[in-house]
């Protein structure tokens, strides 16, 4: 009885992915304990977030991909409505309009779009023939550009970047022509200066400081300088858990959220960093295997996009903390403190598991 219940629970759980995720999240809890100044409440609250996110992952894993496919369009429309709502009625906090009050709760529609956009695009491309025309891609790009533009306007550079990349991955995996890609790259090169003028001052500043953080060592460059000092002073073996001076002594800003990797890198050193990178590689690799084995276009595009978006999270966050990418508000997945992004992430992994474990039901 218990056995049967147990097997029911894990029926749609991919054990390899699950194991890697759980291990990474456990590491996250340890780092959080250190980064928060040994704040047990903070750790427990994050553990609770993880529990909730895992529950949502389980639910997602148990929903067959064909049901998800049907949800794609309504979800996207709902997300767009909410985004427009934010645009007009959103609540401003920290200079950005990201939140929306819907009677009983406060939601952040951009988080929903992280899943809704790749789902919609995967659905859109899976309904076409195998010969995709340029116009299909143009429509796909438009479906992507609208929510990205709204989110960028909030402004939330980090999230819009992640959503843009998740949509781009779908377009790319669906067979966007190389010639077009190269053409776009050239176009982007031309458009970059125009884009530059559209950025907010603080965003522009962040990019400028990226190239020379010492330009403003006590201001915008401070994050980067302190984070690189933390990482660099960690050396090969690190200073040891709870012994990072940079992090323990309050030099690192946002050290439980966006900059938590600096704490990790300081305390666990080069070895720890490479191990964590290996963990992420395992998760991404597993995601790619799932995508590669997926049985229909929707599943494989969605699985591929989710996996690569996860990679984008990791690369952008670690890149910014180690000073090779601009500081944009992207958390380190599975490690950074915060419930919202964790829920979205694990929802994505739930979908991956669903795709993987519902395979046999699709074909005979």
């Amino acid at each position: 009885m218990i056995n049967r219940f147990g097997s029911y629970v894990v029926r749609h759980i991919d054990s390899f992915l699950m194991g890697s995720l759980l291990f990474t999240m456990l590491v996250g809890l340890f780092v959080l304990y250190s980064a928060s100044g040994q704040n047990v409440d903070r750790v427990l609250s994050q553990a609770a977030n993880m529990g909730a996110a895992l529950a949502i992952m389980w639910i997602a894993a148990n929903i067959a991909p064909q049901h998800l496919e049907r949800l794609a369009l309504p979800l996207y429309i709902l997300g767009m409505v909410l985004l427009v709502g934010v645009f007009f009625f959103g609540e401003i906090s920290h200079g950005a309009r990201r939140w929306l009050h819907i009677g009983f709760a406060r939601i952040q529609p951009s988080e929903l779009m992280k899943i809704a956009v790749p789902m919609l695009l995967a659905w859109y491309f899976s309904r076409r023939d195998n010969t995709l025309s340029l116009s299909n891609h143009a429509i796909g790009a438009l479906l992507l550009a609208i929510p990205v533009a709204f989110i960028m306007k909030q402004p939330d550079l980090g999230t819009s970047l992640l959503i843009a990349s998740s949509g781009f991955y779908v377009l790319f995996l669906a067979g966007l022509s190389w010639r077009l890609l190269i053409g776009l790259a050239v176009f982007a090169g031309v458009m970059a200066p125009i884009f530059w003028t559209m950025l907010h001052d603080y965003q522009r500043k962040r990019i400028e400081i990226l190239f020379d953080p010492y330009q403003d060592p006590l201001g915008a460059g401070y994050h980067t300088i302190q984070a690189t000092i933390a990482l660099g002073s960690g050396g090969i073996a690190g200073k040891g858990w709870l012994h990072g001076t940079q992090s323990q002594l309050d030099f690192l800003p946002e050290r439980t959220t966006d900059f938590i990797f600096a704490v990790f890198g300081e305390e666990f050193g080069l070895m720890g960093n490479l191990l964590l990178l290996l963990l992420f590689t395992l998760i991404i690799g597993r995601g790619m295997v799932i995508a590669g084995q997926a049985q229909n276009m929707f599943s494989r595009l969605l699985a591929g996009s989710i996996t690569l978006t996860f990679f984008t999270y990791v690369f952008v966050n670690i890149g910014m903390v180690s000073g090779i990418l601009p500081v944009v508000g992207v958390p380190l997945p599975l490690i950074s403190y915060g419930g919202t992004s964790l829920v979205t992430l694990l929802l994505g992994f739930g979908i991956l598991m669903s795709i993987h474990t519902h395979k046999k039901l699709v074909t005979s």
Partner: protein, 643 residues
Amino acid sequence: MNYRSELRNYQLEQHNFRLRLAFMAVLVLVCFGILGSRFFFLQMLKYDYFQTLAENNRISLVPIVPNRGLILDRNGVILAHNFFAYTLEITPSKVKNVEDTINEISEFIEVSAADRKRFKKLRAQSHSFESVPIRTHLNEVEAARFAVNRYRFHGVEIRSRLFRHYPENNLGAHMLGYIGRINDRDLTALSEANELSNYKGSDHIGKSGLEQYYERQLHGTTGFQQVEIDADGHAVRVLSSTPPVPGDNLILSIDSKLQRIGEEAFGDHRGAMVAINPKNGEVLAYVSQPTFDPNLFVDGIDSESWKALNESIDKPLINRPMRGIYPPGSTFKPFVALAGLEAGKREPPFSISDPGYFMLPGSSHRYRDWKPGGHGQVDVQRAITVSCDTFFYGLALDMGIERLTSFVSHFGFGRKTDIDMKGEMSGLLPTPEWKWKRWKQRWFPGETVITGIGQGYTLVTPLQLAQATAILANKGVAMRPRLVSSIQDARNGVVTPNPAIVVDRVTLDPHHVEIVTQGMVNVTLPGGTAASIGAGSPYAIAAKTGTAQVIGIKQNEKYNESKINERHLDHALFIAYAPADDPTIAIAVIVENGRHGGSTAGPIARKIMDYYLLGKEPPPPAPAADAAVTNAPEPAHEEELHD
């Protein structure tokens, strides 16, 4: 067929997808490779560099300011001490808009216009990263009120600072001096003296008086704490600590009671009084009137108070005993008399018959005696007692200016006494050489004549006059005058005496000293110029009165007190030592525009001697008798007249 084509499409689709996925996998590995090599670069290649940065980040050397030494009088009465008080301070570089911040603070903590003015002034003098007090002496309620609102104010902090306080307020202000905020000039001086590191964390320094002269001893040695700090600069943990060495306490030879009696004895008069123990040079009282409250200067004086003090015609900020210069007048005569005796010129029974004036050979110009008609038959001793001008006119001429000045210079005229304060004036003992250098004019015999009665070019400070009197009282042995008698180590209470130093010694015939002393004792006896001063005294007082002209009186013009503006009235001088046979106190008093030495300056000296020798306290001071002349406006001041 249809099925097969779908199958082939499906396979092609999957194949294309996998190709693209593989491409992305390579991209992922490349990106992670970039991250990995970045880690390698930061954590291996640049490890030492970042390690050093992190250490510097983490450990900060925080200075611990030593307690400034106390200043105590000879009986242990505290004249300067320190207390802790809360200040509210703003670090301008950390605040976006200082003006707005102050306005916000003033919503719950009172910030007066004077506070704002002082802040503005101090801010202009400070670097932007230094915290500047906007309010001082916060009470507990105000401190708590700010603590609650602290989160709103980055760059605003409550600090507990050590404040200097002078509990006796005006008492001995010129001598004690005051401390003030370190300015650029102080910084330059400190850096030249290689003392800058000892002033990390200190924001005050002695600006005048003893606070300035003994700055090195009073300040102490700054300690250091190695602390771990967080990015906001807040100390998290102390790693090691070198405690500060507190500044030494100064124990003065001043008796604060005597000092107070001296100050009160002046009433509304301006002037100076110095009392010295002739045997060891200890200064017993050091009065400069009017005085001021040095506490005003500690937090940075507000402009109104500064204006009031600095622009007052009474010049309360001038340290008169050592910076006020006056003609010595007749108080110079005992020294001239001794010069004559030692030169073998006026040995008794030599005497003159005084017609009431002196004339140079071959000249009709009359150098008048203060007493029309003269004093009759006068020998050297009587000449002192009655202050006979005619006698000293002749004596000076007879001796010649060079011999006269070279002898009296042994009494410290014309040079600094080297008292333990900075900024002392050296007065003037004129010689033909000096006149030639200064004015490119030759010396006239008439100038020698008037030098004999302490007029002409000769100028003294009250301190010099007191020192000269002390040297006379000590029979030619000059002790260095000093205000600090010993220095006490604040840690263990060990007292190191500030030794008595003989600075000059002139061999005098005891018989000659006896003659002069007797002449001076007779001054305070019936028939002398200050007979009232000696009245009822159980000890013998050797004294000499003097008056010094503020403006020249024309030949044949009668000096009319009532006609002259109060500020043009003669200065009253008085020197004395007692007991005459074995003096333990020597005094010089100058009352500006006090007219007669015997009537205004003498009583002050008597009160001092009575308390010092008998422990007798004067009755509480009565309101000034001659209020009618005290308020006459006149901008001129001695220093301006004589400089």
